[in-house]
């Protein structure tokens, strides 16, 4: 079938989107045809999510042209997009937990009778949509909040189908699905393709894309790299396309590999019905240990467990050859070997946005800036100034509220407030997400300097490049487990990506063989 001759259903020409100084989409061209499943591939931050948001009316584009059925479109809201037949499945963002499945599915346009919502018709509609995606076992009367994550995601998909889309966009729609639901879902997608829908599919799971996609487009750094039909390139080539960007970031030189005695020893750590499974690893003084893998494989939970936030953690954590026994961040902070954690979401967990930069900076070390029972303005000012100087935080005045700072400077404030306690162990949860390149480099240098000064650093990062550039060793996680430990020569982007996708050693080994 010569599809290239047909008019594409959705067509992007030169679409560009910037967030502040960061170009999220750079002059992107893309054509999606009816009756095809079109997969978008790329690393975290390659621009796939932005593209979807632009198409589905969540954010406006800065420039370029988007046409649907040869007519130019510019949706201002998700609802406007829905009405034009463009429906996007977000990750359970649009479900209301206290409403029933049936109510959620037809929330925007419920079936009515005598002007009132027809609950029976609503249940029938939900039943037929759920049956269509092979989830007839979900009772439309049950509340969404009572369902498992996987089932909730299926409801979200049913809700999208209920809007009768012509272009269905799926953003990591399978990330929360169980194996069984994934299979059901694939059948549905094949069925929809047969009904001549166009489907835009984003996933990190290579296996799925190989099974599903008719056509693939690879993105890198906000740009469209290539589009090709399935089978034109093998897995290794695709991985190469995803990561083959020029290295723009400079990392501080790593010290020569040496064996350091373990300082932080984790063994057999498990938590919460398989969220963390039997994890074991060690980190020594002066080492930066990375946690790799796709988003949401348990990295956040592991850091929270070490920081004393999780209840019911089994297994052992030893620090300096002593059982740690930490049950709260307060204990972690005041332990003999002080632990700091830079949390995932700096806006809600790291900072008090409405409070001043100075107040944020001393929030972990209030007792350290005291003279007697009172906070010494002088000590506080000195510490704050020292922190601002040390991390080169760009601010107008320490009394400005934290929300006035840029993302990078906000993150510096979070890091700085923890350095105030002079931590022995520093846990970081994706510290450079959404931060400009310059600040990133400063953070890398800072981390290396801290390690050189004897700190133990454990860092999760969603950026593979960063893991390779920064870390002495990387533990790759998949589904709550550590599936690989990479260091030295074996710490390559290919190895990271293939282990993150849990492809086993397949790709990595084939690459190694090529190079030998």
């Amino acid at each position: 079938m010569a599809i290239e001759n047909r008019v594409p259903h959705l067509c992007l020409q030169g679409v560009t989107k910037r967030y502040g100084g960061i170009t999220a989409l750079n002059n992107v061209d893309l054509a999606v045809h009816k009756g095809r499943i079109h997969a978008l591939l790329g690393e975290n931050g390659a621009g796939k999510s932005t593209l979807i948001k632009v198409v589905s009316g969540v954010v406006p584009r800065d420039s370029g042209r988007i046409t649907l059925n040869d007519r130019e479109i510019a949706f201002s809201t998700p609802r406007a997009a829905n009405e034009a037949g463009v429906v996007c499945v977000f990750q359970e963002l649009s479900l209301m937990p206290h409403l029933s499945v049936a109510e959620n599915i037809s929330i925007a346009r419920p079936p009515r009778r005598y002007g009132l919502i027809d609950t029976k018709a609503q249940i029938r509609l939900a039943e037929s949509l759920l049956a269509r995606i092979g989830c007839a076992d979900i009772d439309p009367r049950s509340r969404v909040g009572e369902l498992s994550l996987s089932r909730r995601q299926m409801v979200e998909i049913a809700k999208a189908l209920g809007k009768e889309p012509e272009l269905l966009i799926l953003d990591e729609a399978t990330s929360a699905l169980t194996h069984r639901d994934v299979e059901l879902f694939f059948e549905v997608l094949h069925g929809l393709r047969a009904q001549n829908l166009s489907i835009l599919y984003v996933s990190h799971r290579m296996h799925e894309i190989e099974i599903l996609a008719d056509r693939l487009s690879v993105f890198r750094n906000g740009s469209h790299v290539a589009s090709f039909d399935r089978g034109e390139h093998d897995e290794a080539e695709i991985v190469e396309m995803m990561i083959g960007r020029e290295i723009t970031t400079q990392y501080p030189t790593k010290p020569a590999p040496k064996t350091v005695p373990p300082f932080l020893e984790v063994s057999g750590l498990s938590w919460g019905n398989g969220a963390l499974r039997d994890l074991s690893f060690t980190a020594g003084k002066g080492e930066i240990v990375g946690l790799g893998g796709l988003d949401g494989q348990g990295q956040t939970q592991l850091l929270l467990a070490l920081f004393g936030v999780l209840k019911g953690v089994t297994g052992s954590v030893r620090i300096g050859a002593q059982a740690a026994g930490i049950n709260s961040p307060q204990e972690a902070k005041n332990a003999r070997d002080r632990i700091a954690m830079i949390p995932e979401d700096r806006k809600t967990e790291g900072l008090m946005l409405a409070m001043s930069v100075a107040d944020n900076l001393i929030s972990t070390s209030l007792d350290r800036v005291c003279r007697g029972p009172f906070i010494s303005e002088e000590k506080a000012r000195d510490t704050v100034n020292e922190a601002i100087r040390r991390l080169r935080i760009k601010i107008g005045d320490p009394s400005d509220p934290a929300w006035t700072l840029s993302g990078g400077n906000q993150q510096k404030v979070v890091i700085a407030k923890w350095l105030m306690i002079e931590p022995e162990i520093i846990l970081l949860n994706d510290p450079t997400r959404g931060i400009d390149v310059g600040t990133k480099q400063e953070i890398y240098q800072l981390l290396r300097a801290l390690a050189d000064a004897g700190a133990t650093v454990v860092m999760y990062s969603s950026d593979y490049d960063e893991l390779i550039g920064c870390c002495d060793r990387v533990e790759v996680m998949y589904d709550g487990r550590i599936v690989a430990t990479l260091s030295g020569e074996s710490l390559t982007e290919q190895a990271l990506v293939s282990h993150a996708l849990n492809l086993g050693n397949g790709v990595a080994r084939s690459k190694e063989m090529e190079s030998t």
Partner: protein, 315 residues
């Protein structure tokens, strides 16, 4: 290079607006008295002192309420904490009266704090239930009538006495204000209040002992409420049923008029002082103008709404 940004002082704006409003109230009241009676009663030192003396009770309650509001909670047990402290103190009499009253306040605060911090029950409903229990105990104790016992000399001194022409109640309020203001601005605990009120998640992850902060806040609120009860009993020479009814909501109003966020995390103590003055002088001017209770209530409601809308508009 340092970029100079205008110093962020939006937190002070409500303080200025509320203070300006106090001046406006006094001005309007004075014009009225000048026209109606030919005197400036409102501005006579003795009248002002008397109003401030009455306002002190509200001021002390509001100081405690502010602490709880700063952490994002509310204490609706104020009416009967105040009354219970006063009733117990007058009932037991003697030198232990004040200590007993204050201990009661602290214990009530402890119960409230544990319910909110450890059981994580909504403060609005938990403190309300505690209020009901206190009310019940007092009805059981006093038989639902005002007790005959009299306030002790010390309580009378605190509530009604004067020292060098200044009401002692006003001095107590001043002392409480200095202490609370110092705690809020100068101590780790004070900073923790704002941190917890801003984001409990961030506070917890910063290693702030947030549960302890919440419990201590409620204890302080209970203590100050009890103190106000002892003073008020001293002022009236005895404790009586319903003596606390007119303090909870006006205290909340004063704190909010002073610019504190009802959801917690921001507000300055001097704002609360200004808020108390707004409430007190608004009341006295309306009563000088011989406004009926009806008009007073309406004006009161409009003032709170207007000030909040003004704060919202430009903040």
């Amino acid at each position: 290079m340092r970029i100079t940004v205008a110093k962020w002082n939006s937190a002070d704006r409500p303080v200025y607006i509320a203070s300006a409003f106090v001046v406006l109230i006094l001005a309007v009241g004075t014009i009225y008295t000048l026209v109606a009676q030919g005197t400036a009663t409102l501005l006579s030192p003795s009248y002002l002192m008397q109003q401030l003396q009455i306002g002190s009770f509200l001021g002390v309650v509001a100081a405690g309420m502010m602490i709880v509001i700063l952490i994002g909670h509310i204490d609706l047990s104020v009416p009967w904490t105040l009354t219970t402290a006063a009733m117990l103190a007058t009932a037991v009499g003697g030198p232990w009266a004040i200590l007993l009253g204050l201990s009661l306040g602290a214990v009530v605060g402890l119960v409230n704090g544990v319910g909110v911090a450890y059981l994580r029950l909504p403060s609005m409903i938990f403190t309300l239930a505690v209020n009901a229990v206190l009310q019940g105990s007092m009805v059981a104790m006093t038989g639902g009538t005002s007790p005959q016992s009299q306030a002790t000399e010390l309580m009378r001194f605190l509530g009604a006495g004067t020292l060098m022409g200044i009401p002692v109640a006003l001095l107590v309020w001043t002392l409480v204000s200095v202490c609370v203001s110092t705690v809020l601005t100068r101590t780790p605990f004070g900073r923790s209040l704002y941190i917890v009120g801003n984001s409990e998640a961030a506070a917890y992850l910063s290693g702030i002992p947030n549960k302890r902060v919440i419990v201590v806040s409620f204890i302080l609120c209970g203590l100050l409420t009890a103190l106000a009860g002892l003073m008020l009993a001293g002022y009236s020479a005895k404790a009586y049923q319903g003596m606390g009814d007119l303090y909870a909501l006006p205290a909340i109003a004063a704190v909010v008029i002073g610019g504190a966020n009802i959801l917690g995390g921001s507000g300055k103590y001097r704002g609360t002082v200004a808020g108390v003055l707004v409430v007190v002088f608004l009341n006295s001017v309306l009563s000088i103008m011989q406004m009926s209770e009806a008009i007073r209530q309406i004006v009161y409601g409009f003032v709170i709404l207007t000030m909040l809308l003004v704060y919202r508009r430009k903040a």
